[in-house]
């Protein structure tokens, strides 16, 4: 088996890696936006819950939470599939981090513009979705890139719950060929390529929605 055949074999896990990364990123975005949005809406009663959520999910290692969800929950009668387990561990943790990223970016939205929207007669929710979020998302790009990168880098944990992603393919290949060095080097390069493509994608979106005078220019 030459090097390219190895890479071809590894690439079979590519789809799973990408799916895991996207699912966890999507979960993270949804959770992060919800948490940051609820906090911004100023319902004093939910704030302690939001604080508790971000504190806990930023304090527990991904692997521990993944095992708790995937291997632990069945023993209390809740069965969770591998992909859902990834979303409920890595996805929620990413959500907690993204919520903090969004909170910081929301603080950079001009108070005068929010006041102007209020004076116009907009509801709090309309202000959130048409003024604050559109600006915040542009300001939060660097933090979001960090978080998506993190998700990609934690995605190999999916092998521990039986998802046949790149790292899993590499382990199988290593066991049969005993050529761990080439294989894991190839894996490293593969992840790096995914990372660069992801980065290029985000930068493309950033450029496409770029607004002069807002965020990084």
């Amino acid at each position: 088996m030459n090097f390219f055949e190895l890479v071809a074999q590894l690439a079979q896990g590519l789809v799973s890696t990408v799916v895991v990364t996207l699912v966890c990123s999507g979960t993270g975005m949804a959770v992060g936006l919800t948490v940051a949005g609820l906090r911004r809406m100023g319902y004093a009663r939910v704030v302690p819950f939001l604080d508790g959520f971000t504190y806990i999910f930023r304090g527990v290692p991904v692997l521990v939470l993944l095992f708790l969800v995937y291997f632990g929950l069945p023993s209390v009668g809740i069965k969770v599939g591998p992909l859902l387990a990834m979303a409920l561990s890595l996805g929620l943790i990413a959500g907690a981090y993204l919520a903090e990223v969004f909170r910081g970016a929301l603080d950079s939205v001009e108070a005068s513009e929010i006041l102007a929207a209020e004076a116009m007669g907009m509801s709090r929710f309309q202000i959130l979705t048409s003024i604050e979020f559109p600006q915040m998302l542009r300001l939060a790009v660097p933090g979001m890139i960090n978080e998506f990168t993190s998700i990609l880098k934690y995605s190999p944990f999916a092998y521990t719950v039986g998802i046949a992603e790149i790292t899993k393919q590499a382990m199988t290949l290593t066991a049969t060929t005993l050529r761990g060095i080439e294989i894991y080097l190839a894996v490293g390069v593969l992840y790096f390529l995914i990372y660069r493509i992801l980065l290029a994608g985000v930068h493309y979106l950033e450029k496409r929605y770029q607004v002069p005078g807002l965020g990084t220019t």
Binding site: P61, L63, V64, L68, G180, Y195
Partner: protein, 224 residues
């Protein structure tokens, strides 16, 4: 159903092993935090080298290690190197792997902080007759380190959490011991909940320590 009592009995029985694992976890965390910091300083120093090729090399290093999973690096050393007859202990693999990875992150934080410095300070230091190394040591580093304290302490907290990955290369740290506990009585939920609680507690302690460090290192007019 042996429930809580069975779990508690096993927990007490295995407590010495769990505590030993906890010590391993803390030991690994401290070591990689220190080595990652020191190596990060080295990487950072060369990131501003007058030679273009050195700068590109450092850029590539930082970018590559930020872009690839730590676990792949650990597996490369643990499962790959024996192919060349080089068998490293799980501990050594963890220390080397983490150090290279953490150093890349730390160097990136420091670089970001340097980009925010006032360039006229460097100019005036040069005008005063300071050399490159002196400027780095006496002007750049003190400011950059202070500005990076939150990011660097955050990295240490990340190191503690990520050290749990080491059990995947058979390093018998805390989480590995918890696995053993879970395997003896099949109380997975309780065992992992306990693990999560312990990590949360340790992280909380680190967060408090980090706040102290931030307080000590703050200078008026520099940073937030």
């Amino acid at each position: 159903m042996n429930g809580w009592s069975g779990f508690q009995r096993d927990l007490v029985e295995q407590m010495p092993l769990i505590l030993a694992g906890l010590r391993q976890t803390l030991q690994l965390t401290v070591i990689i935090s220190v080595t990652g910091f020191l190596f990060g300083l080295v990487v950072f120093y060369f990131s501003n080298s007058p030679y273009r090729w050195v700068r590109s090399l450092i850029q590539g290093y930082i970018s590559f290690f930020i872009g690839t999973p730590l676990i792949v690096l650990l597996f490369l050393m643990y499962y790959g190197l024996p192919q060349w007859g080089l068998k490293l202990s799980p501990f050594l693999v963890a220390v080397i792997g983490f150090t290279m990875n953490v150093a890349a992150y730390n160097a990136a934080y420091l670089t970001t902080a340097r980009n925010g410095l006032d360039p006229t300070e460097i100019e005036s230091a040069r005008a005063q007759g300071f050399g490159r190394g002196q400027i780095f040591r006496w002007i750049t580093l003190p400011q950059v380190l202070r500005l990076s304290v939150p990011a660097l302490t955050n990295q240490c907290i990340g190191n503690l959490k990520d050290s749990s990955v080491a059990f995947l290369i058979q390093y018998t740290e805390f989480f590995a011991r918890i696995q053993e506990l879970a395997a003896t009585n099949f109380q997975f939920f309780k065992a992992y909940l306990l693990a999560a609680g312990v990590y949360l507690g340790l992280v909380s302690i680190l967060v408090l320590m980090a706040r102290q460090v931030e307080k000590w290192t703050r200078l008026p007019g520099l940073g937030r």
